[in-house]
């Protein structure tokens, strides 16, 4: 009996020594990898993908069915489309104000309702456009912009907290959309309407994927080619310092909310086109939460300041991948959010600064407890001057 205990003990102490060695060898490369700001988001995405590969061996298969790319990856990218577009706007709003835009879902509904109303005229179910298609799209987007401008005025000029300011449209938005459509679901039967959210004939890739990627590129260009990105970050980090160096903090905030509104409009049009109807009670339901989570998962601080569009894109795809995976694992829709919340809590905790610091200390403690003989490989202290 005693012998067994001793052996187990010996086994474990050996195991620990092996781990210590491993740590000390891997320390520098690990620190390099984990030091990168996109490390955690990418890691999570990889983990989700690995899980998928294990459960569905044909995960990477892509085939062409009915003239459309199909397979797991295209379908995740397609389903992530609206979320991705919303996340872009949310990233800017969070960075500039340290607050969130809760009203993106309702704005989607409002934009789509205007568009649907113009296309259908007084009918609820028709296949002839009553007004030019382009005009309807334009008005839909304009509605999104106006909603964003409303939020922007509340936040930047009236100094209302973003959460509260956008709560107004969050609660009222869907009712406004219902007012526009007289409380009915509008069915748009004209196949042209499906171009935006499904497929343009002859193009083998879902339009949602294309549009969402197009907007990723547009927003990236906007942020990189003008100094909007720098302005947004400056205002988000320290509003009064930003004002004193000559930035118009209010205008920058306003602009971020307008862009967010416009993007919500785009997402609304895409979303309603995907289902061929406008149901203002359903469209973009609780998408704001997913978008906020996507921003956080992308390694962006929710208290504003620095942001990374690339991070947010990864975040959005990760959220969608998690959702899709959970569905694939036969999780019931009503339980979906529980699992999602669990996964996300773990990820967010793991990427928090405090947690990282704890881990670092733990590693250091393990390393410094290595017996003297093996100390050569473990330079814990001492300075390596790199510059």
């Amino acid at each position: 009996m005693n012998k067994v205990v001793v052996q187990i003990k010996r086994f474990f102490s050996r195991l620990i020594v092996i781990f210590q060695r491993l740590f000390s060898i891997l320390e520098t490369p690990l620190r390099k990898i984990f030091g990168h700001k996109l490390a955690i988001p990418l890691l999570v995405l990889t983990a989700v993908i690995v899980q998928n590969i294990i459960s569905t061996p044909n995960f990477f298969d892509i085939s062409i069915k009915n003239g459309l790319l199909s397979g797991y990856i295209p379908s995740i990218m397609d389903e992530a489309g609206e979320l991705l577009i919303i996340t872009l706007g949310m990233t800017l709003v969070i960075a500039v104000s340290g607050g969130v835009d809760l009203s993106v879902g309702p704005i989607m509904a409002i934009a789509a309702s205007f568009c649907g109303l113009l296309l259908n005229g007084s009918e609820y179910r028709t296949d002839v456009f009553q007004n030019p298609y382009i005009l309807a799209l334009f008005i839909g987007l304009l509605a999104g912009v106006l909603c964003g401008a409303f939020n922007g005025i509340m936040v930047s000029y009236l100094k209302i907290q973003p959460m509260i300011a956008t709560l107004i449209l969050f609660t009222a938005g869907r009712s406004i959309a219902k007012l526009i459509t007289h409380g009915q679901t509008i069915y748009i039967m004209n196949p042209v309407y499906k171009y935006l959210g499904v497929q343009i004939p002859g193009v083998p890739i879902r339009t949602t994927i294309l549009i969402s990627l197009l907007f990723v590129i547009l927003v990236t260009l906007l942020v990189k080619l003008t100094s909007l990105g720098l302005y947004v970050q400056s205002v988000g980090i320290n509003g009064s310092a930003a004002r004193l160096v000559g930035l118009n903090s209010n205008a920058v905030k306003f602009m971020a909310f307008v862009i967010c509104g416009l993007l919500a409009g785009v997402a609304g049009l895409v979303g309603s086109s995907g289902v061929g109807s406008v149901n203002s009670g359903e469209l973009g339901m609780s998408i704001e939460m997913d978008a906020i989570l996507a921003v956080a998962l992308g390694g962006n601080s929710l208290s504003g300041g620095k942001f990374s569009i690339a991070g947010s894109v990864i975040g959005a795809y990760t959220i969608q991948a998690i959702t899709t995976t959970l569905y694939a694992m036969n999780v019931r829709p009503d339980q979906l959010n529980v699992f999602k919340a669990l996964i996300i809590v773990v990820i967010i905790v793991a990427s928090s600064e405090i947690f990282k610091e704890r881990i670092k200390r733990l590693i250091r403690r393990i390393l410094s407890s290595i017996p003297k003989s093996s100390k050569k490989t473990t330079v814990v202290g001492g300075c390596s001057d790199e510059n």
Binding site: S227, L230, I237, L244, V245, G246, K306, D385, N387
Partner: protein
């Protein structure tokens, strides 16, 4: 008896072989430091020498890479600032960490509020705060919101907060950098009192005078390494400075000879204010003329309205009344951007709250004002920005790992230089410098004073505020004197000397207007 002297002579707190590096920089390398009870120990060194880092390692803000800390001979591990507090080590960090939107009393007792039945006893807290404030001679109301107090008062409150807990060791990281002579005296009285009761104090400062006035021993750091530990009385000022800089230096006060005699002829002033005032009555309406090529100092006690006066020229606060002429043309300046476009620059007094954009890189912090001046659509390319950043890093010898380092990881003095660089880059004609040398080391301070004189000789007009009278006397060709939020007089070149200024501030003669 013998044992007691032993206690005082033997260092109570010793740090041995401390090493700490950050990505790209080695902040401390094999540093030894010790502190006795009942002594005031100065920690000196240039900007970025590693003083604040040493303190932060001691108090558990950073974990050290190697080395050990002993308290009364026993090895201790300090894991966090709270832990340090429990061991009796209280700290006032360089960047004051109070909550601006809480009251004075709340800030004093934050985290250890007096409670009754689990609830915060507000009345009791305010009474205790009043006592504490009176004891330390701080003129602030316990119920006032913190951000309504001047920086000096905030600094005093931060110290009060630290000594409030029963502390055996007190660390003060540049507590006097924004204080005037009077307040420094008050803080010194407090420090002496603590010293007598056996508290060991680490005092970080860039003011040599203060070190010689109050300290017992000095430890000098340079580039993260220990230079040595000295008794104050055995080390002359000149020796101290050359130990810090690592090279012999000539006398520091040769500057005044470089001051150029400017005769602002009858040309139009660059800036002319007539009855200008900030609408919120923080400063009474004033008249002021600023000419090309002159450095005008603003003297007055803290809270005398110096900062408010210059801010109203720059449009930093909303609703300005009165008239402002820029190069003879009537201008309405409602926001900083229009001031910048008219060739003004403003380096604010409060670096943390109004100066640095902490998470952004050194490069972004340097180009931001120029970018704002150009407008959003005319982006300064990455390459161009890097060129500017490199240029100014060299010019002001900013100590940083690179242009992409976040500015918050620079030492306090180097952050200040970054902000100075930001404004120099916009090539202004009229510069407002509110405490530009705050937290800057002795060597660099002279460099900056030289730079100011050089800028003036190139034809810029400079408004200069400093709580160090010496510095202003050395650089200014004219002095505006303020008292009680009112401009009370102007001293011209020949009248600028210490006693004259003090007399005018105090309300004696001086050509009142």
């Amino acid at each position: 008896m013998n044992k007691q002297t032993d206690d005082i002579q033997n260092p109570a707190l010793t740090m041995n072989g401390i090493g700490k590096s950050f990505p790209g920089v080695c902040a401390l390398r094999n540093v030894n430091f010790n502190l006795r009870r009942g002594e005031i120990h100065a920690l000196m060194g240039e900007n970025g020498a590693g003083k604040s880092t040493l303190v932060k390692v001691l108090t558990g803000v950073y974990s050290m890479d190697c080395g050990s800390v002993r308290l009364d001979g026993k090895s201790i591990m300090i894991k966090s600032p709270q832990d340090a507090q429990k061991q009796g080590i209280s700290t006032v960090y360089q960047e004051v960490n109070l909550c601006p939107n809480l009251t004075v009393a709340e800030n004093l007792f934050l985290g250890r509020e007096p409670r009754s039945m689990g609830l915060i006893a507000w009345r009791k807290m305010n009474i205790q705060a009043t006592e504490l404030l009176r004891e330390l001679n701080i003129s602030a109301s316990p119920t006032a919101q913190l951000d309504s107090c001047s920086i000096a008062i905030q600094q005093m409150i931060a110290i009060a907060r630290a000594v409030n807990t029963k502390c055996k060791f007190l660390i003060l990281d540049e507590p006097t950098s924004s204080l005037d002579a009077d307040e420094v005296r008050r803080i010194f009285a407090l420090m002496r009192h603590l010293k007598e009761s056996g508290v060991g104090i680490i005092f970080i400062t860039h003011f040599l005078e203060q070190v010689y006035e109050i300290c017992d021993r000095i430890t000098v750091l340079r580039n993260g390494e220990l230079v040595g530990e000295y008794e104050v009385r055995n080390l002359s000022r000149l020796e101290l400075v050359s130990k810090m800089m690592g090279k012999e230096i000539e006398n520091l006060s040769v500057l005044s000879s470089e001051k150029e005699k400017v005769k602002p002829a009858d040309e139009t002033p660059i800036i002319e204010a007539v009855g200008l005032s900030s609408g919120n009555a923080k400063v009474a309406p004033f008249d002021l003329k600023m000419y090309k090529g002159e450095v005008v100092g603003f003297a007055g006690l803290l809270g005398s309205g110096r900062s408010e006066l210059v801010r109203s020229i720059y449009g930093a606060d909303k609703s300005v009344i009165g008239k402002l002429y820029v190069r003879g043309k009537a201008s309405r300046i409602k926001k900083p951007l229009s001031a910048i476009k008219k060739g003004m620059a403003y380096l604010p007094e409060d670096r943390k709250a109004e100066g640095i954009l902490s998470e952004l890189s050194v490069r972004e912090n340097i180009v931001i004002a120029l970018q704002a001046k150009r407008g959003m659509l005319r982006r300064i390319s990455r390459k161009e920005a890097e060129k500017y950043a490199d240029e100014y890093i060299k010019l002001l010898s900013i100590k940083t790992a690179g242009t992409e380092t976040p500015v918050k990881s620079l030492s306090g003095g180097n952050q200040q230089k970054v902000i100075l660089a930001r404004w120099l880059l916009t090539n202004p004609e009229f510069m407002i410098l509110d405490e530009p040398t705050r937290g800057i080391d002795v060597g660099t301070k002279t460099e900056i004073q030289r730079l100011i004189l050089k800028l003036a000789s190139e034809g810029k007009s400079i408004a200069f505020i400093s709580s160090e009278m010496d510095e202003m006397i050395r650089t200014c060709s004219r002095m505006v004197v303020m008292r009680d939020r009112r401009k009370v007089g102007e001293l011209s070149e020949e009248n600028i000397d210490q006693s004259m200024i003090i007399r005018t501030i105090a309300g004696g003669d001086g050509n009142n207007e």
